[in-house]
Symmetry: C2
Subunit: 195 residues, 2 copies
DNA sequence: CGCGACGTTGATTTGCCTCAACGATTGTGG
DNA sequence: CCACAATCGTTGAGGCAAATCAACGTCGCG
């Protein structure tokens, strides 16, 4: 069933009855996205919240010089939302692009508001989910301040091994805030030293 | 009235009737904290959520070598909570210390759960507040990846001028993830060049 | 008044970037 | 299915931003 992964995700945060779970999932619709396609471009208003069933996305900014910075990746069981743009229905700062053939479950802004109204527990669920996300962002910031590029590289590989193997070094470098060349040098170090 | 600032803060996120506002505020109790005192130490379980009425706090980590890293400051109209520790009632990763004589309004974990139950709108309010916070953390991370130390220094001064003047350069350096010596050199540059 | 934290300055070092060249992979149109 | 282009990954030389270390003046505070 398409919605099993979503149900499991919801159940991680709050108790919902099987009935509630089914009602909630009915709000989310399936969509296929081919590799390379954009779910959202900078400046557009984000009209959906998405949950990744299959594939992988990159969420990134483009600065005035055209440099891309990957903010995060979203693979199976992750949420993709440009929170600011979705919450306030304003122009997005971020781009969201599929880096594999992917499928998501998504909900529109109006339906999300209806969902909150009809199933008030969802407010609690997303409150807890959001607070958990804040903790993750705080920890990432601290890692950026305390760990070297090399440490952050291996920390990422060990924290998300199954995602990391699906990414290019250039993408990982962009996520970590370092250059692809330097990632290459980090990897060389281990290859010659050990093994 | 002690709770006016808190009421204004709540009203920024959702509509609450005067009656609701008063009921909600009744959950929050006043506490004075002298400069230098700790509200929370690493390893303790965070038993409160606090809202700063007066003064200023630093929220920081200590790594194994004893280095302190300031994650954020909380002055008037800001919330201080070790979300992870409060949410899951587990040992805190962070320390919270008053850097001025301060006063806060605080709520215990049990009362917060009661508040959510008695005033369901609070779930929504804290959901929106949390999502807004995520956006802020994301933007800060991008700034760290795209801006130089000097740019981040002046960005902080212009974004929070009234807080910045109350901090030592050492504290600002720690927040920005740079050394106090380098902050000193940044400031020298502007003093000699301009003015 | 004296001590300890803070701020400043300079000399030196270093982690990572920039630029450039080249091999390896991947994708694509004929 | 091959040929060629485009992108990616690797390597090296050189450069720069920021860290480190050390010395010294200053200020707040007990």
């Amino acid at each position: 069933m398409d919605h099993d992964l979503l149900k499991a995700n919801f159940s991680r945060y709050t108790d919902l009855s099987p009935f509630e779970l089914t009602a909630v999932c009915a709000f989310y619709k399936l969509k296929q996205i081919a590799k390379g396609e954009y779910l959202l471009r900078k400046g557009e208003i984000c009209r959906f919240e998405g949950f990744v069933l299959k594939g992988c996305f990159r969420v990134f900014t483009i600065d005035e010089e055209g440099n891309e910075r990957i903010l995060y990746f979203a693979a199976e069981d992750w949420w993709i939302m440009e929170i600011d743009s979705f919450l306030n229905q304003t122009g997005s700062e971020l781009n969201v692009q599929a880096i594999e053939d992917s499928s998501i479950l998504y909900i529109s802004w109006a339906d999300k508001e209806r969902l909150y109204r009809e199933v008030p527990k969802m407010e609690r669920l997303f409150r807890i989910m959001s607070q958990t996300a804040i903790v993750a962002w705080q920890r990432r910031l601290i890692r950026n301040h305390t760990m070297s590029a090399e440490q952050r590289y291996y920390q990422f590989l060990t924290a998300y091994p199954e995602v990391a193997v699906r990414l290019t070094n250039k993408q990982i470098a962009s996520y970590l805030g370092i250059t692809p060349e330097f990632v290459s040098k980090i990897r060389k170090k281990r290859l010659t030293h050990k093994k």
